[in-house]
Symmetry: C2
Subunit: 234 residues, 2 copies
């Protein structure tokens, strides 16, 4: 038994934060900020931003607060990921962690705060983290990549207006595979969630692309995934 009878279960909230940063290859890559632990246990190791849940703070608010404290940014996307509670995941006490995952806008992430105890690293190649945090980040990456609502995710990484090429780069970075520009255009236009702004981007040494923005959802009714032989209600 790793602890004494009657010792209470402690509840923590942690956040996995993702941002897209341009890489040498030109293709943007996912990065995530880590904080160095300044107290025992696992002092000195890098870990996810987080802390104990204050009794009067909402779970999501606690996640947003630690995110702001770490990066100085406000999340454009914040969702509960999973609750990790294995008995032995922390050496001393029993700690249950409610983990959130967040996306922050890419251009803002460039000027995010950093310091001796905060460090951004590529999400795919992490150092050894404290506790079970490596597994948590891997799970968050999996969730990001298998998420159905890609539109929301892409929107979180981009600004108000964007070109279809920028939007495609977000998808390619998240999905980790190249997409055909022409087919991507067709699919996105057909989704009906994009609206032309009427503007174009000039200055580049090529044909100037149109700028788009996301339309407000306007409650597209009946957007259900087709599944199996449907049948008229008898």
């Amino acid at each position: 038994m790793p602890q004494h009878h009657g010792a209470p279960v402690r509840l923590a909230v942690s956040t996995v934060i993702f941002a897209l940063r341009p890489a040498h290859s030109g293709q943007p890559v996912l990065w995530t900020p880590l904080v160095r632990r300044t107290r025992e246990p696992q002092r000195g190791l890098w870990a996810l931003p987080g802390g104990w849940l204050p009794p009067n703070e909402e779970l999501e608010a606690a996640a947003a607060r630690t995110l702001r404290a770490t990066t100085g940014l406000a999340p454009k996307y914040l969702e509960q990921l999973y609750t990790f509670g294995e008995v032995d995941r922390s050496p001393d006490a029993r700690v249950v962690s409610v983990v959130y995952w967040a996306l922050v806008q890419s251009d803002e992430a460039a000027r995010a705060t950093a310091g001796p105890n905060v460090r951004w690293v590529p999400a795919d190649t992490l150092p050894r983290l404290a506790f079970d945090h490596n597994a948590i980040v891997e799970y968050a990456l999996w969730r990001l990549r298998t998420k159905v609502e890609y539109a929301e995710i892409a929107h979180a990484f981009l600004g108000e207006t964007f070109t279809l090429a920028e939007l495609r780069e977000v998808y390619e970075a998240v999905l980790q595979r190249r997409l055909d520009p022409a087919n991507f255009r067709r699919t996105m236009i057909a989704s009906g969630r994009l609206a032309e702004t009427g503007e174009r981007v000039a200055g580049a040494p090529h044909r100037p692309p149109k700028l788009y923005r996301y339309e407000t959802p306007t409650e597209t009714a009946g957007a259900r995934e087709p599944f199996m032989g449907e049948r008229p209600a008898s």
Copy 2:
């Protein structure tokens, strides 16, 4: 402030349990067991099975234990649903509940234990429950119906062997719409996860159906959802 400074956050584990029970219409319907609260707060109201998390018990084990205590059954499917932690969801203390959802086999559910403080009700028409449990069950229902892994779900409700009609009835009950038998057959056979047992069901006044069983997954590699214009890696 609903509580005093320094009062610890308490952690509970609850479980939403689903079983399919035949209804008058012939079509099976989702049922769920509830327990009556025997102490304050909300004494007398019906609520989800659950309890405080013992410091030395895994989260999933706690969910399975309360499930067994309530129904006398072992879950064929058990997965974490969500963690609910609104500050005011419980009148006195700050309670964070890690909620699991479980599926139990239908024919076993018929002989599940019940008593004055345990009651099975149709999942779609619940009475007023304690705390935020009505919303929790609704969320569990939504998750059940939008789950991608239908094969696992159907398997959890059925026995080892089953006919395609039985399998289809599970899908129809969960999805709440009729499916075309011929198209359903085609899709399920094409999935490759069903295996004929060679046996048939006799005795019914119709053509006897074949019996099937689920094949072990055997790691079907590359089972990825198609998404957008793929492109050969350059």
